[in-house]
Amino acid sequence: MSALRHIVYREWITRVRRKAFILGTLAVPLLVMGSMAIGWWLEQGDNQKSRVLVVDVAGMVSQWDERFESWVPICPDCFPDRASLTYRFAAEGMEDEAFIASDFDVMVVFDDAILQHHKAMYYYEQTPGFDLQAHLKTDLSMALERFKVKETQDLDFSTYQRLKTQVSLVGQDIVTRDGHAVGRSLVGFVFSLFLFVQILVYGMHVMRGVIEEKINRIVEVVISVVKPSVLMTGKVIGIGLVGLTQFIVLSVLVWIITLVGGMWLEHADVLKSSSDALVGLDLESWIAGQAELNFLLDVNWPLMIASTAVFYVAGFALYAASFAAIGAAVEQESDAQYFLIPAMAPLVASYFLAVVAIENPEGPLAVIASFVPFTAPVVMLIRIPLGVAWWEVVLSWLGVAVTAWLLLRMAGRIYRVGILMHGKRPSWVELIKWFRHAD
């Protein structure tokens, strides 16, 4: 047991202190967050209002106001005074030089032709941002709609707006009255995707680690001290813990950044009018305030997190055992492809089954796949947020755990023979012989 502990620790520490791991775990999310913060900061720094000149040649959206002695919008609601945008109107366009010399950022030309092809030309000296373009599109569309309605007999704009309908679909389970199934299955998908990626990435780490020990010839010293099965198990556990460490560090890091960022935003009095500032401070009440995220409150989080942990440990052991046996059988990674394809096939299949499960989480394919040990870790996580009986979840856990234990034992037999074999890549028949004659 002591030897296993030392092996696990060695596998873990030598990986988590590598620059690549530290950079991948710490620097990448920090860089992503940092770049987002820089983008936000630049956006804040660039907070002067864009001035847009709407050249309304045909007088469709603006009219002359004697009091102000200027062109004003016929529909002021169509051109709200936004934080980042202000409109001015004119009946005639400006010459290029005059526009460049003016303090306008964008000039939109609104003429008769727009009624036919629904396209408005706009001119700029510096390309306007996506935000500005989106606002322009919304505002101009609404103004044009208003103009069209005004031209229509027996229809006023307020009636038109009342009649205008956009249907949105709200689903509900007829038995459970549950209306958030799709959203919750997406939660499951995020977790299962994480599991899929971790198993794949760190499973490959196990294989590479075994190949490295074999090529390096250090394995003979190690297995003269501990049993090969102990070495293999230690490697699987150690590398599995590396993946878990990465997940924990990333989670804590994201949580801290969200918390600190939220506090900072509040402190900076930014977005004060919005509940956005409370993101990191009171997640639950914030979610409750967002109708489209209500489904998050319906997820059984303790079961979800426990299942993710169990499926990560057992699922990783299940696949890592195969990867370890493959690593022991070959001397270079390119030779491993021959064995990797069938070994990885169930994992890849489980990803596609997960996609199917999102579409139809209670369909026979998803239900069966959530009990088959090779696909259960990824697929069951999609079904759990939808409300699966506890015994079904436990059965799935047990299936994966028992299969992982069996595979570790089987892989151990191939490993103990393969790890000392050098030369050409063995065939499948030879692998079976190694397994049968490992004693």
């Binding site: 030392h6 390096n216 010293v221 297995i223």
Partner: protein, 318 residues
């Protein structure tokens, strides 16, 4: 009362599919001695050593370790330096040595204390915190040697321990092996092709060929046994004259050295069975000018080559 041997290998058989790597090997290694395990490549030495270290098990036969059947529990009392050896490149030197010591059940503090002593003895003390990747081959081998001996094993198995060392470091490791034997009473099983080391270090040897022990015994006895009346003769003259002169009285086995400028030659000879060396020398002195005559003492290299070659030629069906 007969002493219990450190290792008693009896009728050990091991096969890998159709190939029989060991065919009933018997070897007895006395406690506190250095035992040489010799043999050409593919003779079965590594297979035998892997059994001793618990990596593989014999198909038949028995191995006893200081009087009790060898089990994995004995592994902690065995130190092993394999021929194919490496180190973890991603670890520091001291950290790696500590790792192996702890794998063998040593406490960290004790291991660290012993490591400091060994690092100083083999002059690697400045490398404690260096990456393994920075070590030269010889330096890495010294670290590997330290890892094998650190836990003060009762039996130390060294497979080609001197290959890759320069003469100074090879001697340093030889001295360390002798010290282990003399001060700690460590039994050493040495597998090597370096016959100079065998003569210098080993008390006894066993010569394996094609999975069988074809020769074993104390080194000095084996060398004595191999003496077969050969002697070397230095003379002035020509080889042609000498060959004609000796006729059938002696067999010219080999011309060892010729100095053509002064006409001095050194040859190896063996007299006919009825010949007498004293009278033969008296007679040949009349034919050529004899400078020196020395009885031939075979080296372990000679013993090795002759034994294996004889065995091979006998094995070839006529």
């Amino acid at each position: 009362m007969e002493r219990i041997p450190a290792l008693a290998i009896s009728q050990v058989v091991k096969s890998f599919r159709a190939h029989q790597a060991l065919k009933g090997v018997d070897v007895k290694v006395n406690e506190g001695g250095i035992f040489g395990l010799l043999g050409p490549n593919g003779a079965g030495k590594t297979t035998l050593i892997r059994m001793l270290t618990g990596i593989t098990a014999p198909d038949a036969g028995s191995i006893s370790f200081f009087g009790t059947p060898l089990t994995r529990a004995h592994i902690a009392q065995i130190g092993y330096l394999p021929e194919e050896r490496g180190l973890y490149k991603s670890m520091r030197v001291g950290e790696q040595a500590l790792y192996f010591a702890q794998l063998r059940g040593m406490q960290r503090q004790e291991a660290e204390k012993r490591l400091r002593v060994w690092f100083e003895k083999l002059e690697v003390e400045g490398w404690w915190n260096r990456e393994v990747a920075d070590l030269s081959k010889g330096m890495a081998q010294k670290v590997q040697f330290i890892i094998a001996v650190l836990h003060e094993p009762r039996l130390l198995i060294l497979d080609e321990p001197f290959s890759g060392f320069d003469p100074i470091n090879a001697q340093r490791v030889r001295d360390a092996v002798i010290e282990l034997k003399e001060k700690q009473g460590t039994t050493v099983l040495l597998s090597t092709h370096d016959m100079g080391s065998v003569e210098e270090l080993c008390d006894e040897v066993a010569l394996l060929n094609r999975g069988e022990v074809i020769l074993d015994g104390p080194v000095h006895a084996l060398r004595e046994q191999a003496r077969d009346g050969r002697f070397t003769l230095r003379f002035l003259g020509t080889i042609m004259e000498f060959t004609v002169a000796i006729g059938a009285s002696a067999e010219l086995i080999q011309v060892l050295h010729s100095e053509s400028t002064v006409g001095e030659h050194e040859v190896m000879l063996r007299l006919s069975p009825e010949g007498d060396i004293a009278s033969w020398l008296h007679w040949i002195s009349g034919e050529v000018k004899v400078v020196a005559c020395t009885p031939w003492q075979p080296s372990m290299r000679d013993v090795f080559i002759e034994t294996v070659e004889n065995r091979e030629s006998n094995a070839i069906p006529s």
